[in-house]
């Protein structure tokens, strides 16, 4: 290889690029993608990622079912979504090419690991002829790279067996990408040293493969130019990269510390929520006890028990698990104890699409319990927001002594973005006061403890924990007498308690700031979203407004209770469009609550909306159906 060319290749500045990596689920695409993301974050870019992988740990190698993909958009501008179609595809085998080609632009750069395009591999992917020879790739800029053989040749010299050497090929791809986008190789090498410190051969193999990939970029005639994505204009501060599930776990730790309580997490492993349990299990010194329960029901009921005993209690799960918790959530509503139920939503019903994202548990969160059992529902809108949402959910639970549902989803949970680390001094104080004194004077002048005597402002009941002398009391799922908490089957009392429980949740709205309402507030068209669609909708609004189309955007962080301003905002726009990754759950709620003609834009393909899909829906309303020519 000649080194003479390396320094003379020109470089071009670009605003942003969307890169999609695809390979077998054993090829390490998620690791490669995450590491490219990390070095891009260090380079100061704004970014958003979309991991897209199958539920099988190892589907048959080389098949379409086994393709694991990772998409990242890096930008010198503020971005909030991972990009619609990719500008660059790295295809590690024929199945990856076949499965992912539709997800890239028709003139995209396609980097192909040609070593894997033998007859057997083509057949496994379902190709009848070789896409490298036929017209499949017409119009694309194709870069042929014998990644496997180049990696093996270099790594075998270190003493690695051929099979092991092959496994480093994802680092070749990472090296090549880092060269193409002018990423600092030292950032990757440092990380390789740390990550693989325990196995020297693997560490050196991966580092070598990375170098070879980087050098290949420098020398190949196929890539005449490198690209530079300048750092984004972020506000000053200390930044880090974070994904939604980690941010959520850290929010739980923060809430623990801010409350001064010990936390208890009852959880049962379930995709895509398990990483929260993993993360919290790493930090026993943070006053969080994790309990891996025997099932979802034990996970939530143990948390209820811990809450009764004075812990800040949590349970984390995904849709099918929350269904199992339904009866216990009803108990928590009746006991009026603080508890946060976290649902990292995934495709349903039943096992559904465990690794794919969806927002279809909104109705379950709102109504998925027996009887009249309202509770607050909060939804996170971007990965870093999961941190704040966990703190907020705890705050509401503690202040109102109620279970709270916090909704995130598989997309938020797994995707990452740069996050300006908040100043901890700005975080709220969550300290609580346990009951310590008798609170009711009987007719004869003696004092008693009434566990259901409510705070006038919040309607919260006192939290008297075991160990407190004199406040011994019994609570349960049978309807309780207002005040005394004794068992009561009285019909008037049941109506009163039902009304009180509902009113208590409505009062949460007293504390809420106005919802985020942006764009052209006098526009005819209003987009209403909740949860992880925020970034896509915000981007669509931005693009449409640049085109001169007037549109407003209302984002709902609290779905129950809704902020008080929502009705008035909805009624002030002629058209209301509600993009949701479900079949229209929020739109039905808004229609029922406010009698407005909220039109729903649905998608349940396991993937987030593209910005284009949301734009298109607005254009249809603005221009009528003729406007589709765009």
């Amino acid at each position: 290889m000649s080194t003479a060319k390396s320094s003379v290749k020109p470089s071009e500045e670009i605003e942003n690029v969307v890169i999609r990596l695809a390979g077998d689920s054993g090829d390490g695409m998620q690791l490669t993608g995450n590491q490219f993301t990390a070095v891009s974050a260090l380079a100061g870019n704004d970014l958003a990622t979309l991991p897209d992988f199958p539920a099988e740990i190892r589907a048959p190698a080389g098949t379409m079912a086994g393709v694991s993909a990772f998409q990242v958009q890096i930008s010198s501008e503020d971005i909030s979504h991972p990009g619609d179609k990719a500008d660059v595809l790295v295809a590690m085998n024929p199945a990856a090419l076949r499965s992912e080609l539709s997800k890239v632009h028709s003139d995209a750069t396609v980097i192909i690991n040609t070593d894997e395009f033998g007859e057997r591999e083509l057949e496994k992917a379902g190709y009848e002829s070789d896409p490298l020879d036929d017209d499949t790739l017409d119009g694309y800029y194709v870069i042929d790279v014998p990644m496997t053989s180049l990696t093996v040749t270099a790594v075998k010299e270190l003493g690695a067996k051929r099979r092991d050497a092959e496994r480093s090929k994802n680092f070749f791809a990472l090296g090549l990408l880092c060269w193409m986008y002018s990423r600092n190789p030292d950032d990757v090498k440092d990380w390789i040293d740390e990550r693989f410190a325990s196995d020297d051969l693997i560490r050196r193999s991966n580092a070598t493969a990375f170098d070879v990939g980087h050098a290949f970029g420098e020398t190949t005639e196929q890539i005449p130019i490198t690209h530079v994505v300048e750092s984004a204009d972020h506000p000053p501060g200390t930044y880090r990269n974070v994904n939604g599930n980690t941010a959520l776990a850290w929010g739980m730790i923060a809430a623990t510390q801010l409350s001064g309580l010990q936390s208890f997490l009852g959880s049962y492993p379930i995709t895509p929520a398990t990483d929260i349990l993993h993360e919290l299990s790493k930090h026993p010194a943070a006053a969080v006890r994790t309990f891996q329960a025997e099932d979802e029901i034990a996970a939530v009921t143990s948390a209820i028990g811990a809450a009764f005993a004075g812990d800040l209690a949590w349970t984390t799960t995904s849709g099918p698990g929350m269904a199992l918790k339904g009866e216990a959530m009803g108990l928590a509503v009746s006991l009026e104890l603080p508890l946060v139920i976290v649902n990292i939503q995934r495709g349903g019903p039943s096992t559904g699409l465990p690794t794919k994202t969806e927002q279809s548990d909104l109705f379950q969160a709102m109504y998925g319990r027996h009887g009249e059992s309202p509770l607050p529902v909060i939804a996170a809108r971007r990965p870093a927001d999961c941190f704040e949402c966990a703190i907020e959910a705890a705050q509401v639970a503690l202040r109102y002594r109620t279970p709270v549902i916090l909704l995130s989803d598989g997309y938020l949970g797994n995707s990452s973005e740069p996050w300006r680390i908040p100043d901890v001094a700005d975080l709220p104080d969550l300290s609580v006061e346990f009951a310590s004194e008798l609170n009711h004077e009987n007719a004869d002048g003696s004092m008693a403890f009434w566990p259901y005597l409510r705070d006038e402002a919040t309607l919260a009941r006192p939290w008297a924990i075991p160990g407190t002398p004199g406040l011994e009391h019994r609570i349960g799922g049978i309807e309780k007498q207002d005040g005394t908490g004794d068992i009561s089957y009285d019909s008037v009392n049941h109506q009163l308690m039902t009304d009180l429980r509902a009113e208590k949740i409505q009062r949460v709205a007293d504390d809420l700031p106005p919802p985020e309402y942006t764009g052209d507030l006098d526009a005819d068209v209003l987009l209403v979203g909740w949860g992880s669609t925020w970034g896509t909708i915000a981007s669509a609004v931005e693009r449409l407004r640049k085109e001169g189309i007037l549109v407003a955007h209302l984002h709902l962080r609290y779905i129950n209770p809704l902020p008080k301003e929502v009705g008035e905002i909805l009624r002030s726009h002629r058209s209301v469009i509600v993009p949701e990754l479900n079949m229209g759950q929020l739109s039905k709620m808004l229609r029922a609550e406010f009698l407005v003609d909220a039109q729903s834009l649905n998608k349940v393909s396991g993937l987030p909306f593209t910005v284009g899909e949301v734009e298109e829906a607005v254009r249809k309303v603005v221009h009528g159906d003729e406007g589709e020519s765009e």
Binding site: L42, G44, H234, P235, G237, T238, Y239, R240, W250, I253, A254, Q257, L258, G260, Q262, A285, A286, A287, V288, R289, F291, A293, E294, D295, I297, A298, T301, S302, I304, G305, F308, A309, G310, D311, G330, L331, L335, R420, I421, V424, L427, S436, E437, L438, M447, I465, P466, G467, T468, P469, G470, L471, E472, H473, R474, I475, G476, G477, I478, I487
Partner: protein, 342 residues
């Protein structure tokens, strides 16, 4: 937290009486129900357990017996069907200083809640579980339960139930429970002794209490527990002693390689062939063999402590709590790779 003498009433450990443990709630079991004597035995035994009311939590699931928490002047939760062991697990882990009791019936703890029972026992969570076994669903008015005898005719099994019954003690021993005992509702003294032993045991203590449901399954254990029948039908388990029972100790238990524990006439076996009861045997197999005696509750039935062994208590390694504070949050958020933007 602050408490003052004037507003709250702490009861001295040494001086509690049964009445201190009784709540002001009217007890609402059917007249003649065996649960009354179990409740009073527990309340009579508690003053001897050396604990305070405020440090005591009683958790029930759903069913007649599971209502017991309402009648105790302690902290208590009446939960949902089957889940009492899981709720109690959370209580026990949140505050290891508490004395936690679980009370449930055979349906609550062996049917809908069977899973939680197994896991509370195998983890050895610090709690005392009283399984009140009346071999019937009482609160739903008389269907066969997981401990009902095969062929039992009830409203939901008019042609006799097909189900084979579970033996609660065998289940507990199968889950490697560290304390396993049986008592019955006709003998307050025996109940009190067993309850005190169970409470004193570190970890999960499992007690089966044979209880008569006089409305839906009357006389279920009469052939064993009625005063006149006890001598010949109850096999008392006494630590360190050969297992003998009956008039003039005319019967004993021996281990048979093919049939497990068997009852023999002592005239037919030599003294050293009799099984010497040792509740501290590490291996649960002998206790298991004893638990298989009288599988239909119509033969001589062992009573007392089957097993009491030491094993680490789950959660006894406390969560390390650093001084709570914002510095911990800040350190966490700044851990790993960060970069500064000026």
């Amino acid at each position: 937290m602050t408490t003052t003498e004037t507003t709250t009433t702490a009861v001295d450990i040494a001086t509690t009486k049964r009445a201190d443990w009784q709540s002001d709630q009217e007890v609402r079991w059917c007249p003649g129900c065996g649960d009354y004597s179990i409740l009073s035995a527990l309340q009579f035994a508690l003053p001897d357990m050396g604990i305070r009311r405020e440090d005591t939590v009683v958790v029930g699931g759903i069913g007649c017996a599971a209502r017991l928490p309402y009648y105790m002047n302690t902290y208590g939760i009446h939960g949902i069907h089957g889940r009492a062991p899981a709720i109690a697990t959370g209580v026990a882990l949140a505050n290891p200083d508490l004395s936690v009791f679980v009370v449930g019936g055979d349906g609550d703890l062996l049917s809908i809640g069977g899973n939680h029972l197994l896991h509370a026992l195998r983890r050895n969570i610090n709690m005392t579980i009283l399984l009140i076994n009346n071999r019937i669903y009482g609160l739903t008015k008389g269907q066969y339960s997981p401990t009902s005898e095969q062929g039992k005719v009830t409203k939901s099994s008019p042609r006799g139930s097909e189900d084979s019954p579970l033996l609660p003690l065998s289940i507990a021993l199968g889950a490697d429970a560290t304390f396993v005992a049986r008592t019955h509702d006709m003998d307050r003294q025996h109940m009190m002794e067993v309850f005190k032993r169970a409470h004193a045991h570190p970890g999960a203590a499992f007690v089966e209490v044979l209880q008569n449901c006089n409305v839906f399954n009357n006389h279920a254990y009469e052939s064993i527990t009625a005063k006149a029948n006890r001598e010949g039908m109850i096999i008392p388990l006494r630590q360190g002693e050969p297992i003998r029972f009956g008039p003039d100790d005319s019967f004993g238990v021996v281990l048979d390689p093919r049939h497990g524990a068997v009852v023999m006439n002592t005239a037919d076996v030599s003294e050293d062939e009799l099984l010497v009861h040792n509740e501290a045997r590490d291996h649960p197999s002998v206790a298991f063999a004893l638990s298989r005696l009288s599988p239909n509750m119509d033969e001589p039935t062992p009573m007392g402590v089957f097993r009491a062994v030491d094993r680490p208590v789950y959660g006894s390694k406390p969560v390390e709590t650093e001084p709570p504070g914002r510095q911990l949050i800040s350190d966490l958020l700044h851990s790993g790779t960060t970069w500064d933007v000026d």
